[in-house]
Each structure stands twice: as C-alpha cells, then as structure tokens.
C-alpha cells in the first residue's frame, strides 16, 4: 500500500467506521448505563451512610464495565468495517463508487482534495441518557448526608476507685465529722479526674491517680478515726458517777496535734471543744462523757464511711450489710426483704439486663442471675516464666501418677453402668 491516495482514503474509511461503531455502542450502552446508574445511585447513598464508599465505587465501576461489554456484544453485528466506510464516504461525497472500485483494484483512487468531513455527531441527543446517569450518580455522591444515628453509647462506667472515693466523700459530708472545706480538695481532684476524656479514664496514669486519691482519702479517714478514738480515750471514765473527770491532757494534745496536721481536718466546733477541754485539768463528768461519746461516734462514722468496721461494732456491720432497722418493731420489721427481690437502687450494669438483688439469700436464685458485684484485685501468682504455646504446665520427675481420677466411687459406678 504505497499510494498516498489509497492510504488517505482507507484511513478516512477506518476512522468513519470507528466513529460509527462507537456511536452504535454508545447508543446501546447509554440507556443500559442509565438504568445501571438508576439502580446504583440509591446503593451509593446507602454505601455512603455505611462508610463503604470505596467498595460501592468499585462495584459501580465493575457494573458499568460489564454493561459496556454487554452493549458491545449486542451491537457487534452492526459494526462497520473499512469497506463499509468506503461505501459511505463515496456515497456522501458523490464519488460514484470510485472508492469501492479502487479498493477492488479498478482505476485510481480519487484525488484527496475531494474529501470533506462527511458526517458529524448529534452528540447531545445521544448523550442525554448518560447526562441523566451522571446527574444521578453525582447527586448520590455529593448530596450531603446526616450522620447515621449511632446507637446511643452507654457512658463507660467510672473506675471503681472514683465511685468509692465519691461515696466516702458523700458519706463524710452527711456525717459532718470532717470540716467541709477539708473535703473540698478531694472533691476537686475527683472532678479533675472525671473531666478527662472518657477514653482516658482507664489509662494507666488515670487509674494510678484514682487509686492514689482513694488510698489517700482512706488513709486520712483512718487517721481521723484513730485520732478521734485517741482523743475520746483522753477523757477517763470514772466509776461511781463522780462530779468531775480528769483529762489526759498529754493524750489529748497529741490527738489535737495529729488532727491539726492532717489534710482531713475535724469539724471546727468539735475541734474547739477539744481545744477547750485540753486546757482543763478536770472537766465535768457529764460534759466529758458527752464529748467522749461524740468523738467515738465521729470515729465510728469515719470507719462506717469507708466501710471498715471494727470487730464487735455490730451497729457498723449492720449498716454495712444494709439491714438497718430490722427487728426494731417498726412497720418494716421482720426478717428483711423477701428473697431475691430487686434492690432499691438500680444496678449500674449498662447494657446488661440484669439487676442486683437486695439480699444474699441465694436459695431461689436462677441460673444467670447476678447475685452481686464486688471490686477487688486479682490474686495473681507470680511465676518465674509464663507458659509458651504448646508448653507443658508441669514436667514429670519420674514415678509420679500421671492419671488421677477425681471421681467418687458412686460416680464411678454410675459411669460404669452408663457405658455398659
């Protein structure tokens, strides 16, 4: 093929055939793609809501490709070849079949100057379905979506140390043993811990700080209770109802010194009474007895606040067990709540649908009931080295019993009867 005219005309024919074939394919593909877009648009919206946009885009691209291949398959019989392009060119350009004759080797190829663009696209009409499809997809891809309504997340349960600390502070405030301003630093530090982001609540530093705060408060309360007991002991008990009671000033001063130096200070009026008593060698027995009882009650309240009862302090233990008032002849007299009745306070178990029960009678508890929760530390036995996967927990040293039956003779008989 050395004739420039032949090259030119054949190239034009191929070009026309390509355009025609593309138009055929496009005309078939466009409505199919529009239909696919109509289906894909709502799916794309759903994918965006579920944050699977990339997956949806890949699926959409695959669907469009499949549709494109299907369209090409459907219109393949209508595709034009180079010879068809020559025919259309010679017909349109008025060449009286010269191109077909020249292609058959008869006569020369026409002058290339006779060529003129013979066909043009009616693009807008053909592209209407695609514009529609693109509009649908663009709307599905760009329309703003409200954030999906996530299931309301239950706030994480506060660390146990916080709950304990808060409970102790509230109890101390109710009992009014300590000065209110003395509890303020603990409350502020607890608030600071609460103000952390929730995801940091159980961080190592947060838990360490929480434990430190709790331990510090407990230590302060213990010390306060101890000092109050010591102070109460400074007022000697005289038998036979004497008029005056001697005051152990040294012990009282030591107690006052301890009370004054602590962070958790005693309430001021009680402190003042103690300071007044410390200045006396003797004081009226009735006043001394009342003050001593007040101080002991304060010490008891302190221990009760942190749930640490002294042995023999039945009142304290009763309160801690939640059995206040039983058997006192009131309207709630009796053996206490019926077994497995719900507790007055709801359990803070978040997503679980279980409730704590109000007593420890487990005779009628059903399987799965939560009979109680407790906070504590695991007793972990420190080992020199952990077991590796596949490792043996123990190695024999020779002469040991390898299989050790744990069954009772009765169980063995039952099993023997069953497998007989």
């Amino acid at each position: 093929m050395t004739d420039p005219g032949e090259r030119f005309w054949r190239r034009q024919a191929r070009r026309l055939a390509r355009r025609a074939n593309l138009a055929f394919w496009f005309a078939r593909w466009a409505p199919l793609a529009a239909a696919a877009a109509g289906v894909a648009a709502p799916l794309l919206l759903l994918a965006r809501r579920s944050h699977r946009t990339s997956l949806a885009a890949a699926g959409l691209a695959g669907a469009l490709l499949a549709v494109a291949l299907a369209a090409a398959w459907l219109v393949r019989r209508r595709f034009l070849r180079e010879a068809d392009g020559l025919v259309w060119l010679e017909a349109r350009l008025g060449l009286y079949s010269r191109l077909s004759a020249a292609a058959a080797g008869v006569g020369a190829w026409p002058d290339t100057a006779r060529y003129a663009p013979a066909f043009r696209w009616r693009g807008l009409r053909a592209a209407t379905p695609i514009l529609f499809a693109l509009g649908l997809l663009a709307a599905a891809a760009l329309v703003p979506l409200s954030a999906p309504e996530a299931a309301p997340l239950a706030p994480p349960e506060a660390p146990a140390a916080w709950r304990q600390t808060e409970e102790w502070i509230r109890s101390l405030e109710e009992k009014k043993v300590a000065a209110p301003e003395a509890l303020q630093p603990f409350s502020e530090r607890l608030d600071q811990l609460r103000a952390q982001p929730q995801k940091s609540w159980y961080g190592e530093s947060s838990l360490e700080a929480s434990d430190t705060l709790r331990d510090q408060l407990r230590s302060e309360v213990r010390s306060l209770a101890s000092d109050l007991d010591a102070a109460a002991g400074a007022f000697g008990t005289e038998h036979g109802m004497p008029a005056e009671t001697a005051v152990d000033q040294r012990a009282l001063r030591d107690a006052l010194k301890g009370l004054s130096s602590r962070t958790l200070r005693l309430r001021p009026d009680l402190m003042k009474q103690m300071q007044g008593a410390a200045a006396l060698q003797k004081m009226p027995a009735l006043d001394a007895s009342r003050l001593a009882r007040t101080l002991r009650e304060g010490a008891g309240f302190c221990r009760l606040s942190i749930r640490e009862c002294r042995p023999g302090d039945t009142d304290c233990w009763r309160v801690v067990a939640g059995r206040t008032g039983n058997g006192n002849g009131g309207i709630d007299r009796g053996p206490g709540p019926a077994p497995l009745t719900l507790n007055a306070e709801a359990s803070s178990l978040q997503a679980k649908r279980t409730e704590g029960v109000s007593n420890s009678d487990l005779s009628q508890a059903a399987l799965g009931d939560v009979v109680g929760t407790s906070t504590g530390t695991h007793a972990v036995t420190a080992r020199a080295g952990g077991l590796s996967a596949g490792g043996a927990a123990a190695t024999g040293s020779g002469g040991e019993v390898v299989g050790n039956s744990q069954l009772t003779p009765e169980e063995r008989r039952i099993l023997a009867r069953y497998f007989k």
Partner: protein, 334 residues
C-alpha cells in the same frame, strides 16, 4: 463483466463519442434528454426497449434518428390485429431456382438492426410470440429453418396507454424480454415552442451519422467491461429481492431484472465516462427496469397505485448501504 476492466482512456473516448450521439439526438428530439439517455443506455446494454406514450410525442422519430445516428438499418412494423407472424419474420416463396421450383425465404421486416415495433399491443399474441424468439434468440425459425438476425439487433416497441379496446396486452414473459420500459412524456411549453419554430410537418430533420455498426459493437463491448463493484451488485440483488413481498406486489421481478439492472448500470456509467458503475446508476435505472416487471395485486390496483410508485417506495426503503450508520451520525452540511 467480460474481460479486463475498461481503461479510463477508452471510457473517456467512448464518452466523447456518446456525447456527440446525445447531442445529435437531442437536436432532433427536443426536450427529451432523459429519454435519449435512457435509450442510449438500453442500446449500450444490448437491450430491447418498450416505449410507452401517447401518439405524436416523437417515439417514431426517436427511432429513426437513432438509426441514422448509429448508421443502422431501421425497419418499422406497424402492428395490427390482422398481422401474421410471417409478416414479421418473412415467408418462403415458391420461386424457380436453377430451373427448379423451390421455396426461397423472403426475409421479413424484422431483419434489420433497429426494428420499430409500433403499437405492439395491437397484434395478436401469436404474432407477438413470433417477436419473442427474435428478441431472445436473435434469430427466427421459418418452416424449421433458422435464420440469424443481423448484429446488432434491437427492438424498440411502442404502445399506447389509451385506446386499449381491441388490444392484446403483452404477457409478462414478453414484457420481461424488454430491458427498459420508458415513459414518453409530453413536452413543456418552451419545448413545444421550439418544436413549432424548428420543425416542419412531413420533413424529417437531418441527423448526422455519429458512428456505424462496428463502432456501436465496440461501444457495447466496452460497456460490458465497465466494472461493477460488489457492493453495487449487492444493492441490485437486495433491491430485486425486495420486490417480492413488497406492499401491493403480487409477483416481483425476475433474476433477468437483476441482470438488466447490472448491464444498465454499466452502460450508464460508460455514458457518463466512468469506469465503474455506482449506486446512482442503479437508482436512476430502477424505475425503467422494474416497473414493467412487477405485477400489482388487486387491492393495489383498486387503490390506484402504479408500479412506478411501488418502485419509488422500494428505492426509498432499500438503502444502498448494507450496513446503516447510527442515528448519532448525520451527514455534515456540504
């Protein structure tokens, strides 16, 4: 196509000679250029022609002028109901030859290069059939003896579309022998004015002889060598095939019609100086080739449809291109 394809130079030389012929005939048959072209195409395609038109439109003059321009022997036969086959083919006459009496064949008027069969539909079917053999076989048989007709041999028959009483319409088999059926239409006022000014009743206009029988044979041979592209042949086949089953058509065109279209397309291309036939040639000749070969059904005839209208509808329906273009592509303005 016989032999090698026609060379461009040969075709151009033939076109020049044919142009002279067209000019000569056009000077005689005023305002009938299309008819003259069709007749020349028919002659170049070695076909017989059926001219249909009212009396006085120049049919006879066309044949006479054609004979003079081509240098051919022209014979005229006026067909009448009492015309016998022997009146056309010739009769054996008892004569004395070398002292003995013998039948000697006396050739009839059909023995000419160009035979004008005037008002052919007025002859009896028997006489018409005598013409059938001559047209197809280019010979006549009398008393069992064959007599070859001169070469070239053309029959240009005429028939009058009116005054059909007492006529014998040509049977389909005989119609199929005619390459073209050409309608001779009346002229416009301007042409009539020229006729009135330039013609005199009773005196035929002078027509120069442009070529002779040998040159005509060369032209006919050259027309046969004009290239017919395969796509054009395919178009002819699809067009002829579409006549079968077309609306209003009782029977369609025969394969002879396809041959006629191919030969006519080649001849028309030669007339226009082209070395190959084209779709345009086929479309231009399709009415002349097909309309007398289509049999319309009763309903179509009742509706007043004509074969020419059916052919026009077919041409609009059957696209030349086997594979259409998509709707998204349209012809650019030129």
């Amino acid at each position: 196509m016989s032999g090698t394809p026609a060379a461009q130079s040969d075709v151009e030389a033939a076109a020049r000679r044919l142009s002279l012929l067209r000019t000569a005939l056009g000077a005689v048959l005023l305002g009938q250029e299309a008819l003259v072209d069709s007749v020349l195409v028919g002659i170049l395609a070695r076909g017989h022609l059926l001219l249909e038109g009212l009396p006085g439109l120049g049919k006879t003059m066309l044949v006479k002028a054609l004979g003079r321009a081509l240098g051919l022997a022209v014979r005229r036969i006026q067909f009448t109901p009492d015309l016998l086959p022997g009146d056309i083919t010739g009769n054996p006459i008892l004569q004395e030859v070398d002292g003995r009496r013998a039948f000697v064949f006396q050739p009839g008027p059909i023995f000419g290069n160009l035979v004008l069969a005037d008002e052919i539909n007025r002859a009896s079917p028997k006489t018409q059939s005598a013409l059938l053999e001559a047209m197809q076989e280019q010979r006549v048989t009398v008393l069992g003896q064959e007599h070859a007709l001169p070469d070239p041999f053309f029959v240009l028959a005429t028939q009058n579309p009116i005054e059909l009483e007492g006529t014998y319409p040509l049977p389909e088999a005989q119609l199929d022998r005619f390459l073209f059926k050409l309608d001779v239409t009346r002229s416009s006022v301007a042409v009539l004015e020229r006729i009135v000014l330039e013609r005199t009743i009773g005196r035929d206009p002078d027509v120069p002889a442009v070529c002779d029988a040998d040159a005509l044979r060369e032209l006919i041979a050259l027309a046969g060598r004009v290239f017919l592209p395969k796509v054009v042949a395919t178009y002819i086949a699809r067009l002829v095939d579409a006549t079968h089953g077309a609306a209003g058509v009782r029977y369609g065109a025969s394969p002879r019609a396809a041959l006629a279209l191919g030969a006519g397309a080649r001849a028309r291309a030669l007339l226009h100086g082209r070395i190959n036939a084209s779709f345009e040639d086929v479309q231009a000749l399709a009415p002349a080739v097909l309309q007398h070969r289509l049999g319309l059904d009763y309903a179509a005839r009742l509706e007043g449809r004509t074969p020419a209208a059916v052919v026009a509808a077919l041409l609009a329906e059957v696209a030349p291109h086997d594979r259409p273009l998509p709707a998204a592509l349209e012809g650019a303005p030129r």
